[in-house]
Amino acid sequence: MTVTAPEETGTRAAKTDGPGAARGARPPGRIRRIGLPYLLLLPALLLEILVHLLPIVTGIFMSFKELSQFYLRDWGAAPWRGLDNYSVTVDFDAPIGAALLHSFAITCAFTVLSVGLCWLLGTTAAVYLQETFRGRGVLRALFLVPYALPVYAAVITWAFMFQRDNGLVNHVLHDQLGLTDSPTFWLIGDNSFVALLVVSVWKGWPFAFLIVMAGLQNIPRDMYEAAAIDGAGMWQQIRRITLPSLRPVNQVLVLVLFLWTFNDFNTPYVLFGKSAPESADLISIHIYQSSFATWDFGTGSAMSVLLLLFLLVVTGLYLLVTNRGRKTADV
């Protein structure tokens, strides 16, 4: 059952005259050997079941029910709707489906841009900080500040900066540089997408920086020395050694960034409040809004389930393509 079993038997034989001989009151070996890993996993397992698996199952169940506010307290009694919630959700000609499709498209565009920029900034900064120079430690700490700041404190500051009449952004763009004819609305209308992207990149790139920096430490020093002796310059070393060596790190990083950005609720919620402007209507906010504004939790659940399926498919494909699936499963 366990690999350690033979060693442990040997252990027990050897310990009679070792220091462990003094403590006799230990649980019987059989239980320990077979049950111990499960016992150690039990708390994690129970919590995962209660807070992750059970809600998912419940959510799937809910998506087949007519779940208005009347049935919230006793949702078992809610009438069965079958696939109706789903057909409403994917009817892209009707308002609900059309709005969902729009929100999905916005989220995809936003995620691609945000992840791309986060990766670019994080990798560039990490590569530039790879060599020691004066002030490197200070910069490294500074760059982690956006990551360390609590989301609501940081994003609320950005919300203040994006205020139309008393914000820093308009003051600089309009009053000081004269780039715009009149103060711009940043938190409503089409510009909201830009505002959200800026905040998301500001907050997200330090994570890429952190991971790439950690990945850089695994590249052996002598590879650079060998390349230098062969006559490769700094830029060539970066292109030929640093970037290729980061590949496995980048594959994990991009996946994690993608999932976090795609599912992000906190940033748009603090920036815009309960309902985001149309141009920045990320899917998390959209589901939240369509569940709570209309008290139609059945349709909201159907949207969540579809989103989950989408993420599963994308992640599965990604793992297949990058061939990380086997490695991840082997952790």
């Binding site: 252990t11 708390p43 500040v145 404190a153 500051t157 914000g167 790190v249």
Partner: protein
């Protein structure tokens, strides 16, 4: 003696365009580094500057046109923040919730990671894959079902989970759990097996070996995981806004209280943001060395 500048021999003197060893970067690299890093520092620090400077301004300065410097330096907002909303209560709530979630999450993750790292058992792969894949689920997916489950548990057993700190702690600790387990498995794997096997030979039980050998050797990883768990709980907004009431409200929701119908006390919002950020930022910067070390061993293999 005077060798041509284009030589590739590492000992020869070079012109700026000639190949360099990693110790002497070319000028183009130094310049681009300087420009890039300067711009990036500006981008990163701009909100921090706004937060600090605005927190020292009188209300008039933050309701009218933006000013780079306060017209009148005042620390009044730092006194007002505690009066406008019960910030101290929110602070205590956040501390209790994030602290408890961190302690529980780290303890549970240590046990689980030890089991996965050191034992072979049926269902190991299913466990790791399931735990990891919960990372990909959107929080919104859990919100309503958890709300219903907590209400039902409350109705059935009388244990009030919804609206209580316990419910929030329970939710938060599982948010950081998958990542913590994943990272600790990597970290424990990097602790040589011979170390705890030697402890077993010396008569320690498996738990003794875990706490006397593996845990001390994996302290950087454990600190990293604790920092991550605390930050996750301290910064969470969605569940905090739905699952708390007047008594259990955390900072994440409390900061919204500075906006009245007519006005937003932006100077107070900034002062309060700064005050709630200082504990996490300070702790994070002190411990970031561990986080990088933990990520190197755990997440990046």
């Amino acid at each position: 003696m005077s060798s041509p500048a284009t030589t590739t021999r590492p000992t020869a003197p070079r012109s700026p365009s000639a190949p360099r060893s990693p110790m002497a970067p070319p000028r183009s690299f130094l310049w681009s580094r300087r420009i890039f890093l300067t711009l990036l520092v500006g981008f990163v620090l701009l909100p921090v500057y706004v937060m600090v400077s605005s927190s020292l301004k009188p209300l008039q300065d933050v309701t009218e046109k933006f000013r780079w410097l306060p017209s009148d330096l005042t620390v009044q907002p730092y006194f007002d923040i505690w009066e406008t909303v019960p910030l101290a209560d929110y602070f205590v709530n956040s501390l209790i919730v994030a602290g408890a979630a961190t302690v529980c999450s780290v303890t549970i993750a240590v046990f689980a990671a030890y089991a996965v790292s050191r034992y072979r058992f049926k269902g190991k792969r299913v466990f790791t894959v399931t735990v990891l894949s919960t990372q990909m689920f959107p929080g919104i997916l859990f919100l309503l079902p958890l709300f219903l489950i907590y209400v039902n548990i409350g109705n059935a057993t009388g244990i009030a989970l919804f609206g209580s700190r316990a419910g929030l702690i329970l939710t938060y600790l599982t948010f950081s759990l998958p990542f913590s387990i994943w990272m600790l498995i990597g970290y424990f794997d990097s602790v040589p097996r011979e170390l705890d096997e030697a402890a077993l030979v010396d008569g320690c039980g498996p738990l003794g070996a875990l706490f006397r050998v593996v845990v001390p050797a994996a302290i950087p990883g454990i600190v990293a995981v604790a920092v991550y768990a605390f930050m996750t709980a301290w910064g969470e907004v969605l569940f905090a806004s739905v699952m708390t009431n007047d008594v259990t409200r955390t900072l994440a929701v409390g900061l919204q209280g500075y906006a009245t119908q007519n006005d937003v006390y932006w100077n107070q919002v900034m002062a309060a943001s700064l005050v709630v950020s200082i504990p996490v930022v300070a702790g994070f910067l002190l411990l970031q060395r561990y986080l990088v070390a933990g990520l190197t061993a755990g997440a990046v293999k």
